[in-house]
């Protein structure tokens, strides 16, 4: 029992990474811009957050810089996709390579550079006493995990119940209609791509400064950016579903890691311990899921049925034929 609680508790922390990245991508996609560069932006965030925390001794400053750095990187994609109206898939892929490249070069040697003070964690007094759920969600979690809890309903409220959120939805569904009413489609798209970048940076810093501290070059994120892209489709562009998916995947990640540790499992020889191939197979599962979701989700008809923003992936050109 305690083992399960431990796995789920670590899963919530690990899910917080996916949560920030997924909701960030969700904002960008709701405005109509597909940004496949999440992985690259997370790496930049993880690297710059870690190195700033190392240099200044202040992890919060690290988080701030991580968010700004990734947000800045996202604007390259914004420029290519929104202003130059180029193919968003190609540009997003390029951003992933660029982000990975920059962070590997600048992060060279960072892994052996010494210890860094991590983000603080805390237990919530009464809530952590709730049986089972209490320790999973409210005991010894990083501050960022709690921020994540507050962030999800706020994101939902913003998108669905505020004026700027309504404009965001309009720009992603039918930019020509928004433009005809004087909403600046380009500016809003830049803004939400930036927010997507900022949140990917936060996700990166969450890894390197809280969940699995340190800099392990591209293994730091280990493809979680891609899982986030898949989760957006899985979540049907809804923050609450994104949260459910993120925590579930976080728990799954922990389970896959932890299940390979003990020699005995449920009173039997643990096959995942003795046969590494079983372990590899397990580790593959989240990525296999991501590939399947992305392949299915890339079909126009399916996307429509899932409720994708109608203008997702299409550059907006004012006065184009058929306006």
């Amino acid at each position: 029992m305690q083992a399960i609680i431990n796995i789920l508790q670590a899963g919530v922390a690990s899910g917080t990474v996916l949560l920030f990245a997924t909701v960030g991508e969700l904002f960008a996609e709701r405005s109509g811009v597909l940004n496949l560069g999440v992985e690259g932006m997370m790496l930049i965030g993880a690297m710059s957050g870690y190195s700033v925390a190392l240099a200044t001794g202040n992890p919060w400053l690290g988080v701030l810089v991580a968010m700004l750095a990734a947000g800045l990187l996202s604007q390259i994609h914004a420029f290519i996709a929104i202003t130059l109206q180029a193919d968003q898939v190609v540009s997003g892929l390029a951003l992933t390579f660029l982000g990975a490249g920059i962070s590997l070069v600048l992060g060279e040697g960072l892994s052996k550079a010494g210890t860094v003070s991590l983000l603080p964690s805390a237990s919530i007094p009464l809530l952590s006493q709730i049986p089972f759920l209490g320790p999973i969600f409210f005991k010894e979690q990083s501050y960022l995990v709690y921020i994540g809890y507050l962030f999800v309903p706020m994101a939902w409220y913003y998108i669905n119940r505020t004026r700027p959120g309504m404009h965001l939805r309009a720009v992603g569904e039918y930019p020509a209609a928004a433009d005809a009413l004087g909403i600046n489609v380009y500016r809003l798209r830049y803004l939400y791509v930036f927010i997507g970048g900022v949140l990917a940076g936060l996700a990166g810093a969450t890894i390197s400064l809280a969940v699995s501290p340190g800099w392990f070059s591209e293994m730091t994120t280990g493809g979680q950016g891609w899982i986030a892209v898949g989760l957006v489709i899985f979540a049907q562009w809804d923050p609450f579903r994104a949260a459910v998916g993120s925590y579930a995947f976080g728990a799954l990640r922990r389970l896959i890691l932890d299940i390979q540790g003990p020699t005995m499992l449920l009173g039997m020889r643990n096959p995942f311990y003795y046969n590494p191939y079983w372990g590899f197979f397990l580790q593959m599962l989240p990525y296999a899921f991501t590939i399947i979701v992305l392949v299915i989700g890339s079909r126009e008809a399916v996307r429509k049925r899932l409720g994708a923003p109608a203008a997702l992936g299409n550059p907006y050109i004012r006065g184009e034929r058929g306006l």
Binding site: R163, R169, A177, A178, D179, A180, L181, G182, G319
Partner: protein, 535 residues
């Protein structure tokens, strides 16, 4: 449309009434086209001003300039006496100018109220929709624009969506309303309602620019008329009371137009096409056809009337083998042809004039020759020992070019360079040269100019005389009523009823009946209502 009588002529629209808008020397160019060539346009206070012209005359372009969406290359615009220089639609809206586009600018996934509030500064942050729902409801009551504020736009009929567009502009306090071809998507009764609303708005001191290429409507609603032809003004601000239909037509087309079709009497022959209880889904997987049945005989034109999006497209695709039917069947000359393939249909003599001329009707980058042999290349003489005999093909293409008046330098020209009318002639030439036993024509005249429309009509009638069965799917009611021997009306994937058109042509009652069916009243119900009233 004789039912649309002139009701009022606004007395305030006398000579010398205050000017709302003055556009002087507007020039707007698109790659390869001069869409507006030094156009002048004057709108007075409190008038309905029609902007008349054929498709492609430059009407939408001119009004997009006024609405701030396009910037003119030269020319000045004065609104209420002041020079303005709009850089976006927002500026135009601030100056009181609102435009309702041909394609509605509504976000389908949002509610009516949300669409109306879009782009405004209030509410500042929190959306208290309940509060605004009431304001919208009040406004819609005041102008007789019935619509449910809480409904999502995708749930609304096209007519209702248009009301939302009008409400959007009224809510912004627009006093100059531009409507781009507003009647194209409406059933006759809805057009009457729209005209009532427009008159109510004029009575409150607003001015309306009404874009149309339909002469009858313009005569019915407008106080003054400006006519555009090929980007130039041919008649500026004519008084609608002092002009005639013929005069306007001449200004619009540049020559006399004959409003008369030579439709010979014809006795239909055997049944060629039978559609029996067909069900099918649309691209989104929603039910588009719900047990639809109809038949077409040799030597008759059967019209299918209906507001756009009621299953017309899907029906044409099921018959031509481009879409699966989930239930029912399609029988051609006694043989089941549905759920097989387009090729089976082609080999059995089905020809198809599709709605989408460049996506489905032709391969735009291929030459005229390649496009006209697309249904013949499997057979000799064009196919010889598994190879194409291009000499024969070119000769065939040149023959079609002559007999169908396709205006093109040579048959090697890619068809994407052809104008709409010529492109349609290429398609017709290909489809008719196969001597079809069934012809399915979908919106065959949409977007064509008057001359080209006449040509298409003549070809359809000559096919009828030579014994082909023709299913004509169109949203132009006048076209359907003048060409067809019978008209079915489709609504939400079902046939609402059938109207026979005798030798005398169509009557106003017929238009009323068809109109009611187009908005979803089955024929039996209309008949029952009539019977009760007569008792």
């Amino acid at each position: 449309m004789d039912t649309l009588e002139r009701k009022t002529t606004n007395p305030s629209v006398a000579e010398g009434a205050t000017l709302f808008v003055e556009m002087n020397g507007i020039v707007k160019r698109f790659p390869g086209v001069l869409a507006n060539d030094h156009v002048d346009f004057v709108l007075r206070h409190g008038e309905i001003h029609a902007l008349l012209g054929e498709n492609g005359a430059g009407k939408s372009t001119l009004m997009n300039v006024l609405a701030g969406l396009y910037r003119p290359e030269s020319g000045t615009i004065l609104v209420k006496g002041k020079v303005v220089n709009f850089s976006s639609p927002r500026d135009a809206i601030k100056a009181g100018i609102g435009m309702i586009h041909q394609h509605f600018m509504l976000v389908p996934s949002q509610t009516v109220t949300e669409n109306i509030l879009l782009g405004l500064d209030k509410p500042r942050f929190r959306l208290q929709l309940n509060e605004y729902d009431h304001i919208v409801a009040d406004l819609s009551e005041r102008f007789g624009l019935k619509v449910e504020p809480r409904a999502k736009v995708w749930q609304l009929s096209v007519g209702e969506q248009q009301r939302v567009e009008i409400l959007k502009m009224l809510y912004r306090g627009t006093d100059i309303l531009i409507m781009d071809e507003p009647t194209a998507v409406l059933a006759p009764q809805e057009i009457e309602d729209l005209f009532k609303t427009l008159r109510a708005m004029v009575a409150e001191g607003k001015s309306i620019i009404f874009i149309s290429h339909k002469l009858h409507e313009v005569m019915a609603i407008a106080d003054r008329v400006t006519v555009l032809r090929k980007g130039k003004v041919t008649a500026a601000g004519l008084d609608a009371r002092k002009t005639t239909l013929q005069e306007l037509a001449r200004q619009m087309v540049g020559r006399e137009v004959i409003f008369h079709l030579d439709k010979k009497l014809n006795t239909p022959g055997e049944i060629v096409l039978e559609v029996e209880d067909v069900c099918a889904e649309n691209d989104k997987g929603l039910q588009a056809l719900n047990g639809l049945s109809l038949d077409v005989r040799a030597g008759e034109i059967v019209g299918l009337a209906g507001v756009a999006g009621n299953g017309q497209r899907e029906l044409a695709q099921v018959i031509t083998g481009l879409r699966r039917c989930t239930d029912g069947c399609v029988i051609l000359n006694g043989e089941v042809i549905c759920n097989r393939s387009a090729l089976v249909g082609i080999q059995r003599g089905v020809s198809h004039i599709p709605e989408d001329r460049t996506g489905v009707g032709t391969a735009p980058d291929l030459s005229v020759t390649d496009n006209v042999i697309m249904k013949q290349y499997r057979r000799p003489p064009i196919a010889q020992h598994g190879m194409l005999n291009m000499q024969v093909a070119t000769k065939f293409a040149n023959e079609l070019k002559e007999s169908y008046d396709i205006i093109v330098p040579n048959v090697e020209t890619p068809v994407r360079l052809l104008s709409g009318g010529n492109l349609q002639r290429v398609i017709l030439a290909r489809e008719i040269s196969g001597q079809p036993s069934l012809m399915v024509a979908v919106q065959p005249t949409r977007g064509l100019d008057v001359g080209a429309i006449e040509g298409v009509h003549r070809l359809l009638l000559s096919q009828r005389e030579s014994g082909a069965a023709i299913l004509l799917i169109s949203e132009e009611l006048e076209e359907l009523l003048s060409l067809s021997d019978r008209v079915y009306v489709i609504y939400e994937g079902r046939i609402m009823g059938e109207v026979k058109i005798g030798a005398g042509g169509s009557s106003p009652e017929m238009i009323d009946t068809v109109g009611l069916m187009m908005t979803g009243t089955p024929l039996e119900q209309i008949r029952k209502g009539e019977a009760e009233r007569n008792v």
